[in-house]
């Protein structure tokens, strides 16, 4: 076996507040190999690659590149050494064109290329990955998938020896992902190395040559392609809780929704961020105790639809009626006060205040009407949510910015579900959560919907989630809503087709 291209040895990293993110982790990445790092939320995956990419400095341990110990001072330094990372959220500038964005990163490392040459580079690489984007299009007009592919193209143009994909492919549609795997295989054949971070086991099994599993900051397993299977990995990732993971539909007594219409949407037309029609004449209704799921690829108007229902976005035409009250364009305050929980897109940006602690974040929602906040009961409520959802570290007074992405998501989901008394509007309710937690959260949503007669409307990019949770489902594509469909009797292929055509 060849010597590793890149290794990390005995990496330890502790965060402010004493959270141990990584504990003596060592891994080898060989040339021509596709390595996947798996782990549940807060396992330390992102921290590890951020150390390799020069964003964090480890407390202890070393990074060895081509047999020599190196220090990676910054991301720029990492790029110079041939290590390039693509993260889950595209880091492009919306107002610039594709080529401008790409040239920006290239110039930064000292290649003063003319736009024409950049455009040629982009076309060459783009053709290989199968990305069909006009290089002069403004970034805002592109879909998530296209943006993410541009990010990846950029990484390739930077001539990466080690390409790190931090959940970069997780939310791409399967078709695009497959196309890209072909390219990645070619890429690694040239003696390069690919590292993929994910919490989705099927994604890992699709392509990995080697799988490392992290759990609570420790390396708990290293598997090769032949020995890996879902059950084995789940055991390593979750231990005991692995048994709880399921994609089975929730069955009786959860089957028949009864109750009046809580959420009634009539002929809604909503504009997107740039004045384009994002939601085109959408009508649907949700009854108390019923769960409606909207399947669809990112960027087809789901976000705009949900925001408009909650009151965050102006409705151009149509009505939103919650509990027999017309709330169209009357603001978030009214919908919130009528008992609507809301999990927005990009929860880290819109659903938490990072400089405040968990109790304060909870109080901001629950104590909205009290002049004096009852901190004692808020603290108790926070503790209850922390225990129920296993938020780690279990300290109500910890600043939210010190939690991992998954744990922040758990604080958001638990808070909103607890708050919702009439309806829950959610966008990707389990985004960024690992399988065990996702299963748990979906169970919670179902339980609350049935027990508290909650009307739930959610959109998700994960079709499995929509199929498991919905009593009835719709497909959203380019602003148009198709459906309703019965999740049991409708063939999956039909839904998938509607999503992409």
């Amino acid at each position: 076996m060849s010597s590793p291209l890149l290794s990390v040895a005995n990496i330890t990293k502790t965060f402010p507040g004493g959270v141990v993110a990584l504990d003596e982790v060592s891994m080898d990445f060989h040339p021509g190999e596709f390595t996947v790092i798996l782990g549940e939320n807060g396992a330390g995956k992102s921290t590890l690659v951020k150390i390799m990419y020069g964003i964090y400095t480890p407390d202890k341990g070393s990074i060895i590149l081509k047999g020599r110990e190196v220090e990676i001072k910054s991301s720029l330094d990492a790029i110079k050494k041939g290590i390039v990372m693509v993260s889950q959220i595209p880091q492009l500038i919306d107002r610039l064109t594709v080529v401008e964005n790409i040239s920006l990163s290239l110039t930064r490392i000292g290649m003063f290329e003319t736009m024409t040459r950049v455009r040629r580079f982009f076309k060459e690489v783009g053709e290989k990955i199968g990305i069909k984007v006009n290089p002069d299009a403004k970034v805002w007009s592109l879909t998530y998938t296209q943006k993410q592919l541009i990010e990846i193209t950029r990484a390739i143009l930077l001539d990466a020896m080690v390409l790190i994909l931090d959940e970069a492919l997780t939310y791409l549609p399967l078709e695009e992902r497959r196309k890209f795997y072909v390219y990645l295989n070619e890429f690694k054949e040239k003696g390069r190395s690919v590292i993929l971070i994910t919490h989705k086991i099927p994604e890992a099994l699709e392509i990995a040559d080697k799988i490392y599993v992290l759990r609570r900051g420790k390396l708990v397993g290293a598997l090769d392609k032949a020995s890996a299977n879902v059950d084995k990995i789940r055991d390593l990732m979750f231990g005991e809780t692995a048994k709880t993971i399921t994609y089975e539909r929730f069955t009786k007594p959860y089957e028949t929704p009864v109750g009046d219409i809580v959420l009634n949407i009539k002929n809604l037309v909503v504009e997107g961020d740039y004045g384009e029609i994002a939601v085109n004449n959408v009508s649907l209704s949700v009854r108390a105790g019923e769960i409606i799921g909207i399947a669809g690829v990112v960027g087809n108007g789901q976000r705009e639809l949900l925001e408009a229902i909650v009151g965050l976005r102006r409705v151009r035409e149509g009505r939103v009626i919650i509990d027999n009250h017309d709330v169209t364009n009357k603001g978030v305050k009214l919908t919130r006060e009528s008992g609507v929980g809301f999990i927005p897109d990009q929860p880290l940006r819109y659903a938490v205040s990072a400089d405040n602690n968990i109790v304060e974040n909870v109080a901001a929602l629950f104590s909205r009407k009290n002049l004096v906040v009852n901190w004692k009961s808020m603290r108790e409520l926070s503790e209850k949510l922390i225990n129920e959802y296993c938020i780690y570290p279990p300290r109500p007074e910890i600043h939210v910015k010190l939690l991992s992405g998954g744990n922040i998501m758990k604080t958001v989901v638990s808070r909103e579900l607890e708050y919702a008394s009439k309806a829950l509007i959610a966008y990707n309710p389990t985004r960024g959560l690992d399988e065990a937690t996702s299963t748990f959260v979906r169970g919670k949503i179902k339980e609350k919907a049935v027990n508290s007669k909650l009307a739930v409307l959610f959109a998700s990019e994960d079709l499995d989630e929509v199929l498991q949770l919905s009593d009835s489902l719709y497909v959203m594509n380019r602003g148009v809503l198709y459906g309703p469909f019965d999740p049991v009797s409708t063939p999956r292929s039909k839904i998938e087709e509607l999503m992409v055509v």
């Binding site: 402010p16 400095t57 965050l312 978030v332 919908t335 919130r336 990072a354 901001a364 929602l365 004096v372």
Partner: protein, 388 residues
């Protein structure tokens, strides 16, 4: 092996206190070095500054700056950089003057107790309202027109100065002012300071102690107000829903939006609270020490409104550290003024052909302190580490 900068896992214990004190010391050190460079014997310079820290004259500035420090603390917690305490104070002065010198003007040497108290309270209420409105105006411009609050509050300061100038030249000009552009003195029954007399004993220590007692007794009403404002600020920021909203506004306004709070209203409210405390301070200052305002208006406050920015920063937005940083700033102002009037300093400036520029000398000390502060503030959060 290499040296790296990493964020501390735990903030330094007593970090805030240590940073404030160390910045002070290094500021004085740099200042002294400079004095030495221009040929002044450093010993009396250091002595003057150090003794100012136990100098009763500091008390007045200390109280005013603490009050204003709290006014700004509230705005700064919401990431609203209110540098308009000056303007808010001046609008409050005008309100108080309208009540005491126009509506309830009297030439009597004494009035029934309840009338005095009533007028003073009315004047304070008017000043608080005026401060809150002037602050709120900045908030409205920020929230509804989207203009950055820093230039807005700064410009509003000058508008307030000029409104005051016009009034002092016109309707507010006093009857007993010998042609000066200024208002009458506040009638005696409306004065808030308590006149205390003492005999100097000649013993420096005893005189200092009695000096402090006299100062605190003179400004007893201010002290009461200061304690009330401290309690209010603590309650607001740590117990109330409004304080929570202000803190979230300072951290992530997007979260406020998705919770259904009105970010604009919160912005205006924060500015109004900040302005209200500045207005209260102005009323106390006017009733207790200033007694009249005169043209040009900006000289009436000794830049308290701007110094308060320093106070708020130096306290690192910690409710408990505001009084400490206010004391430091007051001592430094007074100390640097005293240093500037040392004969050796005057001589040195004349030698440098900069006679008359001594007062600008004190800015150097502020600069040194701020510089040291920014460095130390960084060290509080980050540490140098050797990684092998």
């Amino acid at each position: 092996m290499r040296i790296v900068l990493v964020r501390r896992k735990k903030p330094l214990k007593y970090g805030g206190l240590v940073v404030a004190l160390l910045s002070l010391l290094s500021g004085i050190f740099v200042f002294t070095i400079f004095a030495w460079l221009i040929g002044v014997n450093p010993y009396p310079v250091v002595e003057t500054i150090v003794t100012t820290f136990i100098f009763p004259g500091v008390v007045k500035d200390f109280i005013i700056l603490t009050l204003l420090g709290y006014a700004l603390l509230i705005a700064f917690k919401g990431a609203l950089w209110n540098i308009g305490a000056e303007g808010q104070m001046h609008m409050a002065f005008l309100a108080s003057i309208y009540i005491t010198l126009i509506v309830f003007f009297t030439t009597e040497k004494s009035l029934p107790f309840y009338i005095s108290i009533g007028v003073i309270l009315l004047s304070i209420v008017a000043a608080v309202a005026a401060g809150a409105l002037w602050g709120g105006l900045a908030g409205v411009i920020k929230a509804y027109a989207g203009v950055d609050e820093v230039p807005v509050t700064l410009i509003l300061n000058y508008i307030a100065y000029f409104i005051g100038d016009i009034l002092v030249y016109g309707p507010f000009r006093g009857t007993y002012v010998y042609g000066y552009a200024r208002t009458d003195l506040i009638p005696d029954p409306y004065k808030l300071s308590i006149p205390v007399q003492r005999q100097l004993s000649g013993n420096a220590l005893i005189d200092t102690v009695t000096g402090y007692i006299v100062e605190f007794a003179t400004y007893a009403v201010w002290i009461v107000a200061l304690i009330l404002v401290l309690i209010f600020t603590y309650w607001l920021l740590n117990k109330s829903n409004i304080g929570l909203r202000i803190k979230i506004l300072g951290s992530n306004p997007d979260y406020l939006v998705s919770l259904g709070y009105d970010v604009r209203k919160t912005t205006v409210l924060t500015f109004m609270l900040s302005g209200a405390i500045a207005g209260l301070t102005a009323a106390l200052y006017y009733h207790g020490s200033l007694y009249r305002i005169e043209y040009p208006l900006e000289y009436n406050t000794a830049s308290y409104g701007y110094l308060a920015i320093l106070v708020a920063w130096l306290s690192m937005l910690d409710v408990y550290l505001v009084p400490l940083s206010a004391y430091i700033v007051s001592a430094v102002i007074l100390g640097s003024q005293r240093v500037s009037s040392l004969p050796s300093v005057r001589e040195a400036f004349i030698r440098l052909q900069l006679g008359g520029a001594e007062m600008a000398f004190k800015l150097l000390m502020f600069g040194s302190i701020l510089l040291a502060y920014s460095i130390l503030r960084f060290i509080q959060d980050y540490e140098l580490k050797v990684v092998s």
